[in-house]
């Protein structure tokens, strides 16, 4: 079985071809260049490099958010179109969980985060168990970092907390102010999502693939215009 995996949900572009027990090829760039331009050429190169024709694939894995709205859409639209046109199963994997997989051996809490502007972050809280990472604090969310950090401290009960992701740098000071020594930071390579992890996770869930058409991004928040409209509707100032 071969699975093609794609992550364009943030600044990093990562593409991989994996088998059950092996990563055949993976390409990851952090050039913040236009994913729309480069992604499909990367896929083509990787298929050629692994001598894989598209018809030989058994499934597709894709990071389906949260992240940059446009980035997530490029990944999901491309991945579901490949899957649909070849009649393949497709699995959407959380962009946060993908990064958390980088820290499988870490003994404390694993907290990937992406900046979401205005002091907010997209984040989740994971723990490594049996070479998998699992959510330990409810769902992934968009939250003010200042509110998130105390929640994490309560959850950790003294254990170290590892922060992961390219955007951690810009929030490091805030994190250290609240958590002090309890906060841990990774070396650079751990902050990149790796499509090989997505391929691994997708491979193990292929039987659970739903209807390809129904795979959609997890943005974790409404479009601004929709949020405003919903608020007005609740106030009763607009009618449908």
């Amino acid at each position: 079985m071969r699975v093609l995996a794609i992550d364009t949900s943030n600044l990093v572009l990562s593409v991989a071809v994996v088998e059950e027990e092996r990563v055949l090829a993976e390409m990851t760039t952090n050039q913040q260049k236009n994913h729309s331009v480069h992604m499909m050429d990367c896929v083509s190169e990787l298929l050629d490099a692994t001598n894989t024709s598209p018809e030989e694939l058994s499934g597709i894995g894709v990071a389906n958010g949260p992240g940059s709205y446009t980035g997530v859409r490029i990944g999901v639209a491309s991945a579901k179109s490949i899957a649909w046109s070849l009649g393949l199963p497709i699995i959407g994997v959380s962009s946060l969980q993908t990064i958390a997989m980088n820290a499988l051996g870490f003994p404390g809490l694993i907290v990937p985060l992406f900046d979401a502007r205005r002091g907010q972050v997209y984040s989740g809280c994971f723990k490594a168990q049996d070479m998998q990472v699992a959510h330990v604090h409810e769902k992934e969310r968009i939250i003010l970092l200042q509110e998130w950090l105390p929640l994490l401290r309560d959850q950790a009960s003294g254990e170290p907390i590892l922060f992961l992701g390219e955007d951690v740098r810009m929030h490091r000071q805030t994190i250290e102010q609240v958590l002090g020594e309890q906060a841990r930071f990774a070396t650079p390579a751990f902050n990149h999502p790796r499509a090989a992890h997505i391929g691994y996770l997708a491979m193990r869930q292929l039987q659970e693939s739903g209807n390809v058409h129904e795979l959609v991004p997890e943005y974790l928040q409404l479009a601004e215009a929709e949020a405003k409209w919903m608020a007005q509707k609740q106030e009763g100032s607009v009618k449908e």
Binding site: V43, D48, S53, T70, R73, I74, A77, A79, V212
Partner: protein, 366 residues
């Protein structure tokens, strides 16, 4: 595994497949089926067209109801809906046409102009299917698509003049032959459709306002004096913002004097001004360039006032006019497939690095 003997080994396997598929189909001499994809604004559309002339299917998933509540198209909302609809819409287009992907010779997709986030969804899907199935990929300019909607109705006769009027565009285009577009004039401010929407809002008509003004205008008399924006004597450009302001001023002044202006009369006068300028500039271009045919294209082609006036004047001048049916005037993928066919015949394929270009110009496209 393919047969690479005849190929340049520097080509990727995808490029070899595309080249082989194209050559094999050219040699077979059979009909060409093109899958069109259009997501430049708020319609997710897919279509199968035979030989650039015959529509086998044309599926349009409209988001109009969703955007109505916002009073205009919200780009982020439109992009989200495109991702939800895209593969389903393409599947439906193939099913309606009774075709499978293996019957398709090329995928033609709108890559500009339009809303960038919306364009990217269609472009991503088209590239993905192209790579996965080794089907040639063609990038199409949205306005070229609108113009080629006419070819789904009647064969083009060159040289011709095309008047493109929609919510986002007002352009006068001269064509010497297939795929050759020369823009004679375009709007310097608002597109005609935009002016319609703004005037409709001032008259408290629902969004989108164009059809409501058109309907109202038929009930009124064009007796409110409004300016005609001819610009410089030789110019084929358009400008509608002055007219829009004149309408708003007229309403405002009347209100201050405690008078009421019949909305129907104001709508008729506004429509009269817009259509007079559009039609007369078109006819002037017909004479100057010796056009053998006039094409009306774009969503505003549905406007009855414009159709009737242009019809009457073309008849007077003895030049044939083609107006596509409403379903082909508004954004749709059949027109994209029709325009893509011209590029297919020339073997003008896009690479997998095709990008959405929101401000793509028609001349860049060549």
């Amino acid at each position: 595994m393919g047969d690479f003997a005849m190929n340049n080994t520097n080509l990727s396997r995808y490029e070899q497949r595309v080249k082989q598929a194209f050559q094999a189909h050219k040699e077979s001499g059979g009909p060409t089926y093109i899958l069109g994809i259009e997501t430049s604004c708020d319609e997710t559309s897919a279509s199968v067209v035979r030989d650039g002339r015959e529509v086998l299917s044309n599926v349009i998933a409209s988001q109009a109801d969703i955007h109505k509540r916002f009073g205009g198209v919200v780009p982020e909302v439109a992009s989200r809906r495109h991702v939800e609809n895209i593969t389903l819409t393409i599947e439906e287009a193939l099913r309606d046409a009774d075709k499978k992907l293996e019957d398709i010779h090329a995928i033609a997709v709108t890559y500009g102009p339009g809303l960038v986030g919306a364009l990217l969804v269609g472009v991503a899907a088209a590239k993905a299917i192209s790579l996965a199935r080794g089907i040639p990929l063609i990038g199409v300019h949205h306005i070229a698509g609108h113009i080629y909607a006419n070819r789904l109705v009647e064969e083009m006769d060159f040289p011709l003049i095309a008047l493109v009027v929609s919510g986002g565009h007002t352009e006068l285009v001269w064509m010497k032959g297939h795929g050759q577009f020369e823009i004679l004039g375009e709007t310097r401010d608002d597109a005609a459709g935009e002016a319609y929407d703004k005037v409709a809002r001032a008259l408290n008509l629902p969004y989108p306002g164009g059809p409501h003004i058109d309907r109202l205008a038929l009930e009124g008399e064009p007796n409110v004096p409004l300016p005609r924006s001819w610009l410089e004597p030789n110019s084929y450009d358009f400008s509608f913002s002055g007219l829009k302001s004149a309408v708003l001023n007229t309403l405002h002044n009347a209100a201050q004097r405690g008078e009421t202006i019949q909305p129907a009369n104001l709508a008729a006068s506004f429509q009269d001004s817009v259509t007079e300028v559009l039609v007369e500039k078109t006819l002037r271009a017909v004479r100057e360039f010796g056009a053998k045919q006039v094409l009306l294209a774009g969503g505003v082609a549905a406007n009855r006032g414009l159709r009737e006036r242009l019809q009457a004047r073309c008849q007077q001048e003895g030049v044939p006019l083609v107006i596509p049916p409403l379903s082909l005037c508004t954004d749709n993928a059949a027109m994209i497939a029709a325009a893509g066919f011209i590029r297919y015949e020339k073997g003008e394929f896009a690479g997998l690095n095709l990008n959405g270009v929101p401000g793509l110009s028609l001349s860049e496209h060549e």
